[in-house]
Symmetry: C2
Subunit: 633 residues, 2 copies
């Protein structure tokens, strides 16, 4: 009997309408754990890297984790995976909320959607079957309205994943949004565009309970009971004010990116846009994802803009950092409105705010042609300009046509100097923790498999002592601006964090001081495997190297493991990280050695063999040439 997984995935070809079930063996789950781990394995086996991301044959892979949907703390996640239309390399966008648990209960561990529907459609799961339905009346609607219409049609119990106009228009920074107004985002890597390219507006799921029984429910209940108090205690800040509650402390540590990463201090403004300050004025209610004791979601009243007066999911830390600090706007009303608008239109708030801050800096230097500026007032801090640009991006109008491509591609349109203002790595806009404040983040951003991602390593949690390093065998204290042990920290955390997306767990568990042993325990109790801490880390390492090897076949190597010039050279001269610039080369050299990769960033045959990954280093390098011609249809 399967435990924690169904052992099958469903493939739907929207061109032909064909559906096909494929069995996945237990061995695959044990080695890749489901979620984005298993998706990566199948992606690699099928050589999906060769496919142009927006081609008909390109896959949108949606996988739940082994623990998703069970009564296990934070087991609420699903992964949207594939080849990123934004970056051209491995993509995963993870999302919580309630949709993933419902998705898991359809009886499938994963869905691979290929092809392109002739006209707009949505998938509707009901009574064991995914049906392709006409979406003519939904196309063009925003995310909230789409969910509303679908719930009107199929009942309030259904859970909806949908794209907004941005995804429809294949905006490269578009998201896939979950749960309507209680918005959660599969935000990064342009997965909205991938879904939109298939003419697929939404995936609506009717309540179902097709979940495999677990091996030891009693044991799991006891394990849950054991960790609940520490999660509640340690993650209380998150429970009270959400991730945005962290804004002031992040600013104090020099970790907040201000004015497109150029300014080191913004103390009073940070207080004005903090989760605490927003809660005071705009709080509507708390919101928790499926199975989560932390309850970090905060719904807020939208106080300005076109949706003034509505209530929806309030801004996360990243969104505040982006639409407040990055754009130098300290009016929380506009941050809430920008967040709401991005969620409605289906735009990633990290990439969206990055590209707007980038545009503000272009404008400061007179680098935007007048016809594109039109009547936009792109002064730093202009909340109205932010709202106007979000719309332009979603609909690819005016300046938005360029910004919709993300900062890297946009920079190429505005002259060579514009590249100086494009803060990204591997084409993905940098998330909002500064590698000059915690230098381990330089390594995790530079080596992140999906690009400049803060979540693949999450090492700042260890550096800022939210999560004790001793829990993963390291010291508890790190010299923030130094390089000592930073490579080891990055590798260890990447390996540890690698299992979360695969298991369907939220990484905020580590804010609750949940340990690797706890998690290995949960997996063992759920599946009956004898998973220990070591196997857990090896699984994470396997998944990380698998994704790296996918990227290496796509041409990624040391040259791509870098940070934008601004973060390597621009000393902010004020704030807690004044004078700090990461010595990336030195840390990377150590990191590659720890990983068993060559100095060119190519996984070596020994580590790949140890992890049981098929690979011959030289052949794979050779293989890169084959990838020059993408399959475009």
């Amino acid at each position: 009997m399967k435990k924690g997984f169904h052992g099958k995935i469903l493939e739907i070809n929207l061109s032909s309408g064909e559906q096909q079930e494929t069995a996945i063996s237990e061995e695959y789950f044990r080695r890749y754990l489901g979620g984005s781990g298993l998706a990566a394995k199948i992606f690699d086996e099928r050589d999906y890297g060769r496919v142009s991301p927006l081609a008909e044959v390109a896959p949108l892979m949606i996988f739940s984790g082994i623990l998703t949907g069970y009564s296990i703390p934070t087991a609420c996640k699903a992964a949207f995976c594939g080849k990123s239309p934004a970056t051209g390399i491995w993509a995963e966008a993870i999302v919580g909320g309630f949709w993933p648990a419902s998705f898991k209960k359809t009886g499938y561990d994963g869905l691979i959607i290929t092809g392109k529907a002739e006209k707009a459609v949505y998938l509707y799961f009901s009574k064991g079957v995914f049906a392709v339905q006409d979406a003519a009346s939904l196309w063009g609607e925003d995310v909230y309205r789409t969910a509303e219409k679908l719930q009107k049609e199929h009942g309030d119990e259904i859970k909806v994943a949908a794209i907004g106009p941005a995804g429809e228009k294949e905006v490269l920074i578009s998201s896939i949004m979950i749960d309507g107004l209680d918005a959660r985002a599969a935000g990064r890597c342009g997965m909205g565009a991938l879904m939109g390219s298939k003419n697929l507006k939404a995936i609506a799921i009717e309540k179902s309970e097709d979940l495999p029984p677990l091996n030891d429910n009693k044991g799991l209940a006891a394990a849950r009971k054991k960790v609940m108090p520490k999660i509640r205690e340690k993650a209380k800040g998150l429970s009270d004010f959400g991730t945005a509650g962290g804004v002031p402390i992040v600013e104090k540590l020099g970790d907040l990116p201000i004015r497109n990463w150029t300014v080191g201090s913004w103390t009073e403004s940070a207080a004005r846009v903090s989760g605490q300050a927003m809660a005071e004025k705009y709080f509507a209610k708390h919101y928790a994802c499926f199975g989560c004791p932390i309850r970090c979601g905060k719904e807020m009243k939208v106080p300005v803009g076109p949706h003034n007066g509505t209530v929806s999911h309030g801004p996360e830390y990243e969104t505040v950092a982006g639409f407040a600090a990055m754009c130098l706007n300290d009016d929380p009303a506009y941050v809430i409105a920008a967040n709401d608008l991005c969620n409605r239109l289906g735009i990633d708030t990290i990439s969206g705010s990055s590209v707007i801050a980038f545009a503000m800096e272009l404008n400061e230097h007179g680098l935007i042609p007048k016809n594109l500026l039109a009547d936009l007032n792109l002064e730093w801090g202009s909340g109205e300009a932010v709202l106007a640009l979000i719309r332009q991006i979603a609909y690819r109008e005016g300046l938005g046509e360029y910004l919709a491509r993300g900062v890297k591609r946009a920079a190429a349109e505005f002259g060579p100097i514009a590249e100086e203002f494009a803060v990204e790595s591997k084409g993905l806009e940098m998330a909002f923790h500064d590698p000059r404040a915690f230098t381990s983040m330089a390594v995790t951003y530079a080596t992140g498999n999906r690009g400049a991602c803060h979540l693949e390593g999450l090492t700042y949690y260890v550096e800022n002592r939210s999560f004790p390093g001793s829990f993963i065998g390291l010291q508890d204290e790190f010299e923030h601006h130094g390089i000592e042990s930073k490579a080891l920290l990055a590798k260890t955390m990447q390996d540890f964090m690698g299992v979360f997306n695969a298991l369907g767990l939220c990484k905020f568990l580590i804010r609750g001081h949940v340990t690797p042993e706890d998690i290995a325990d949960w997996v063992s109790l759920a599946t009956g495997w004898d998973m220990d801490r070591e196997e857990l880390f090896t699984s994470g390492e396997r998944i990380f190297n698998l994704k790296r090897s996918i990227n290496v076949k796509l041409g990624i190597s040391r040259k791509d493991d870098t940070l934008p010039p601004r973060l390597l050279t621009h000393d902010r001269r004020e704030g807690a990280a004044a004078g700090s610039l990461p010595h990336l080369g030195k840390m990377l050299a150590e990191y590659y050695r720890l990983r068993g990769w060559s100095d060119e960033g190519i996984p070596g045959p020994e580590i790949m063999a140890k992890l049981g990954l098929e690979w011959e280093s030289i052949d794979v390098i050779n293989g890169c040439q084959n990838y020059k011609g993408e399959i475009k249809k």
Copy 2:
């Protein structure tokens, strides 16, 4: 009366046949000193940056320095300038020998050649006139044979600058060669291709004595007398064994690039290919450039290859580093033959050996398609393969067609991983002093106006104590692998070195402990100006910033001020520089501040105003967009 300069240049349009004299005011000479300084000023004024480097309208600018051709130590240099066909930015290639002094004595300070002759021509200067002559019988000949034929026609006294087949075929790493068998090279930036694109095979100059009188010949004679003993004493190593005599000590310091920059130690082999070892077996005679007491040139018997048995200019340090250490070949016979072949065919030995070492590494990884490999045995160290490839590059045949473009462009043809093996900055192959051995070189390479040039800063001379830092107001001892004061060292030396190419002096003067005061003195005595040390440095700073501003208008900024990934991340783990990797970001940050540049590497209005350079930072940044469309004809 003019002193040290004629105050006029000649422009020759090879399309129309028109010639025009243009007067250059004394103020220009005082501010830019002639040579590549004055050339840069005229290049900037005329907006030559907008022109595609191989277009008909593109200029080949040949300028002598203020002191060139006079009886002043090492005053033997001319500068070939323009826009590089290899890098697309500012280009200068400086050369000594005897041709430059003859060139100065034509009565012009500079020659600007534009247009394209209908068929192959050469310029022949005789009795005050540059005449365009038919070169049908020279086209296709190698450099030595070209000089020989011209001397046969016009007499042994004439001096010849010529391109080889590589320049004719617009090979992007081709050189302009001087003085026939006594070969000196204007090697870098692909100036051979620029000359070849004009169907201009050679510039032959008959002896003439049209030199302006100097202000104080007696004073100059005394000044010369004063420095001669120290030059002879301190530069004795150069006199005895030439630059190649430095190979063993350079290796000992970890400064020698081995096996395409990956290996840290090669002691026994370095001894085998040293100038000392070569002299013992192959020495033919000493050779000195015009006016030079150092006499660093060594002519050698060529012991292998197609020109076995001939005698010509022997390999310099850079050439040995390139064809021996970089290619892992420790047979000096093949180094001499490779040098001879490059000189004959007109290929820069730094770029030529770089691109061959790069090909050897590609081959090691199986990255060269079999049809291109043909019967080449590209094993590391194969001297025969080196000779075969040099020919292929010159004639753009087989693999040579790709390598002829330089490592950066070639890498783009062999798949993304190939970039890892391309060691260049701004498109120019790195010269052979390792920034991991002397970290100041990281800054000088990264900020070199013509790309990864060792000569623009020459800071390793200070770090290895060939030239006392105290002579330029700095300390004498630097921690080789640290970052302290390295930015200041780079800036100071760039400013100091900046006047050498403009004055027509050889930088080896500093090996002879000639001081800035000495040089300022020479300029004052020659011209009658009251030039002091401070004005000398300011002139260097002005020239450096002028070239930077030319490049900024072409899109250069911080993003381009970098080193290839290999030099930032690859720790060689053995040799004197084991464990050392340059913290480039930190040094650059300091460097920009010292330079008065923004964190994006753009010269600020204050420093430009101080130097009297016309510039509005913002407008110039704006201007970049205008440069997107190059003038192609």
